[in-house]
Amino acid sequence: MGMLHITCKKATLLIIKKEEKKLSWLERWQLRGHLTICSLCRKFEIQSAFISRIAKEYLQSVHLLGEEKKEKIQERFEADRAGS
């Protein structure tokens, strides 16, 4: 127990902060210490990085409107133009 001892909840938060390079030196030590003794949080760290990479790939895939909705937007836009 002491400054270097952290819980799994705190460790998972620090893992996420680390991905964004926002750890202080103390937090870095705390996380390193926790990960040497906790295999669950080590697993979380790997899976979290995996999810970040996959989320990025997924979000970059393209979403389209569809013709029907485009027609609706066109109609409303024409009505707006006629009205202003």
Partner: protein, 187 residues
Amino acid sequence: MNYSVLNPDKWVSNYADILYAYALPRVSDTVVAEDLVQETFLSAWRARDNYKGEASEKNWLFTILKNKIIDHYRKKGKDIVQSMSDSAITERFFDEADHWTQDDKPLDWGIDYQQGPETKEFYSILESCRKKLQKLQQSVFAMKYLDDLDATEICKALGITSSNYWVLIHRAKLQLRACLEKNWINS
């Protein structure tokens, strides 16, 4: 090149799809995304006399849309503190000592984490897990992974504190991980 001419008759057919594709992952709501696209055309039409022809028509429309998305984030950010404290109370994942619970501890996924899963099934599970997150969490994911904004920039855009931000992203990651594990690994 002469960019200076606007052609409003062609706006919807030329730009509706790309504007929508930009807006949707950032607002995580098809109806909101459609509305933002609609409003972009209307605002552009009303501001047509201000168009100087310095930017291309397309970039000009994108600038208008981006401002609308920022306004949307601002409105969302205002609701955040309330929803944050609610969700912070309903802690699961960790026991009283803040260690992993038996039910929610990370399991071995038995995959190569360097490789993508690349299956249709995985992506549809990912999508349904993502949709279970709060809209605001989804928007933060988009700002983070699509726009590469860092914590400081996202806080500024949403008008939230950095501790709010970390609680939000921490919970989103825990939820998403647990949902993927339950529906993909264990199925």
